[in-house]
């Protein structure tokens, strides 16, 4: 069941086309990652779904309603990139206030549990670490018991530990039956959390599927080896797509590593340290948006 969608949505800011006939559907119970580089159109897509910007053409629908309607918004919890949050309010007070906006909010103790805010509920927001602040914002997103959680770059700027802690809370929310749309430029994040990944580039969909499907969409492999050959000589070989220095040796991107190795050995019998990898999401991402 589709709970939120953007249909043929176009949004321009001056000469820049942020969304170009963009389509997105979010199914109930799904964790969808909207993945793209900075400026790809992720945040504009989210802002259209939240009714914060009006598309030039196309439609945004959330639970069958215009997202600007109060009744659509009571179904959603949101976490946006924000530079200022009232610093002198305590965590508990922030949650109290946001809970009051929703018809059936969670109890304060549940929010504290679900967002990992134990021990900091009486601290002022400004006195918290970056990771704690993001968890408070996550708490504000879930405190209204929303059916759909929209997280815009929820872990931007966080250290690895804080990032993983937040992922855990997002997963726990999804296990309780919630749907999630998250935007990210961290491939690891999309890979770790999402059951569906939509790759957005220049305001258009570039790929749409599970992380696994997207990874396998590219046939490319990475071949790493230590060789005395100059990169230019390697790049001139057949079937080599790309060569770059990697540690003491080279990383070669190719669809046919066997064929490349067969050419390399006669040229450099001392070739060693061979390693062949199937690409991660990162590779697929770089290749598809190149």
């Amino acid at each position: 069941m589709v709970i939120a969608e953007l249909r043929d949505t176009t949004k321009r800011f001056g000469a820049i086309t942020a969304l170009d006939n963009f389509n997105l559907t979010i199914q109930r119970g799904q964790i969808l990652a909207l993945l793209g580089r900075n400026g790809a159109g992720k945040t504009t897509a989210v802002r259209c779904l939240l009714g914060l910007v009006t598309p030039d053409s196309g439609v945004a629908r959330v639970f069958g309603r215009d997202p600007r309607e109060q009744r659509a918004r009571t179904h959603m919890g949101i976490m946006l990139q924000v530079g200022r949050v009232p610093e002198s309010l305590r965590v508990r007070e922030h949650i109290n206030l946001f809970s009051s906006y929703y018809p059936k909010p969670m109890a304060l103790s549940e929010v504290i549990e679900a967002a990992g805010l134990h021990g900091i509920e009486n601290r002022q927001f400004g006195a918290l670490s970056g990771g704690q602040q993001q968890r408070v914002l996550f708490g504000l997103a879930i405190c209204g018991n929303p059916d759909l959680l929209i997280l815009d770059e929820p872990t931007a700027g966080l250290d690895v530990e804080s990032r993983r802690a937040l992922w855990q809370h997002v997963r726990a929310y999804a296990t309780r039956g919630g749907s999630v749309l998250l935007t990210t430029h961290y491939l690891e994040e999309a890979d770790a959390l999402a059951d569906r990944v939509v790759l957005i580039h220049n305001g258009r969909t570039h790929a749409d599927g599970s992380a696994q499907e997207i990874k396998s969409r590219t046939g490319q492999r990475s071949l790493r080896c230590v060789t005395a050959l100059p990169p230019a000589a390697v790049a001139a070989l057949q079937e080599v797509d790309q060569v770059e220095p990697f540690g003491a040796g080279l990383q070669i991107l190719t669809k046919n590593p066997d064929r490349v190795l067969a050419q390399l050995f006669p040229l450099d019998p001392a070739l060693h340290g061979i390693e062949i990898n199937t690409p991660g999401l990162e590779q697929a991402f770089l290749e598809m948006t190149a």
């Binding site: 914060l52 109060q70 918004r73 949101i78 946006l80 924000v82 530079g83 906006y101 504000l140």
Partner: protein, 246 residues
């Protein structure tokens, strides 16, 4: 009702706990009043000056509370994304504006109580309960045009430029309107500009309440003030719409 009450309560608490707002806002008007209204005037002018400047600093207090508490805060919340989070949430449509205005009124009221206590206990003034009530109603109502001016600043200023813009507004408004020094003490040229400024009309009504004006012109001042309030609210609404329609 609950979101409105919480919004007001937390807006007030948030500003009260912010020393860089609360300390100057709550302390500057009483400090100025003690100096210009109670210490400087000597002899037979004492009581008159204490009354005149009580009116002036009560109005100055609510003017600063509104310009800083609304102008600077909304400029920061708009510019740095917090307002966006609130707008995307199911927050009731008017709770944000209501909370900001109510907070300016509350701060204005605290300043006014401090000033009145100083006037009565240190300046030996006598204030009738009716005067206190009327003055409170006046400064609370004045928070609306001053607040509209604050919202206008919040709509056009960036978080960085808002403080400068507010200083450029607040000090000339206060001086020309006769909030710091009695209008009689200002040069004639300056006195001619005063009637275009909202605080001038507020302080004239306050002076009438305190018996420093005959009160014959109070109706006119209130009418002009009502007109200016409508204009400022309209301008603020247009400016905000322009900035949020993207």
């Amino acid at each position: 009702m609950r979101p409105y009450i919480l919004e007001i309560r937390y807006e007030f608490l948030s500003l009260l706990r912010m020393p860089r707002f609360a300390v100057p806002t709550l302390l500057l008007p009483p400090m100025f009043y003690v100096f210009f209204g109670l210490i400087m005037p000597v002899g037979r002018f004492t009581s008159a000056a204490a009354k005149t400047l009580l009116a002036g600093y009560c109005v100055f207090g609510v003017l600063c509370a509104a310009l800083w508490g609304i102008g600077a805060i909304t400029a920061a919340e708009r510019g740095l994304g917090w307002l966006e989070v609130k707008r995307a949430s199911p927050m009731p449509q008017f709770s944000y504006i209501t909370a900001k205005l109510a907070t300016a009124i509350l701060f204005g009221f605290i300043i006014q109580c401090t000033l009145m206590a100083l006037a009565v206990f240190a300046g030996g003034l006598h204030l009738e309960p009716a005067q206190i009530l009327q003055l409170t109603l006046l400064t609370s109502a004045a928070a609306i045009p001053f607040g509209a001016l604050g919202f206008l600043v919040g709509a056009v200023a960036s978080p960085q430029s808002a403080p400068g813009m507010i200083n450029l507004l607040a000090f000339p408004l206060a001086i020309i309107s006769g909030l710091w020094l009695p209008a009689e003490a200002l040069p004639a040229g300056v006195r001619q500009i005063a009637p275009v400024l909202p605080p001038y009309h507020v302080v004239e009504v306050a002076l009438a309440i305190l018996g420093r004006r005959s009160g014959e012109e109070t109706g006119m001042h209130l009418a002009v003030l009502a007109g200016m309030t409508v204009l400022l609210l309209g301008a603020a609404a247009v400016a905000w719409r322009r900035h949020s329609a993207r």
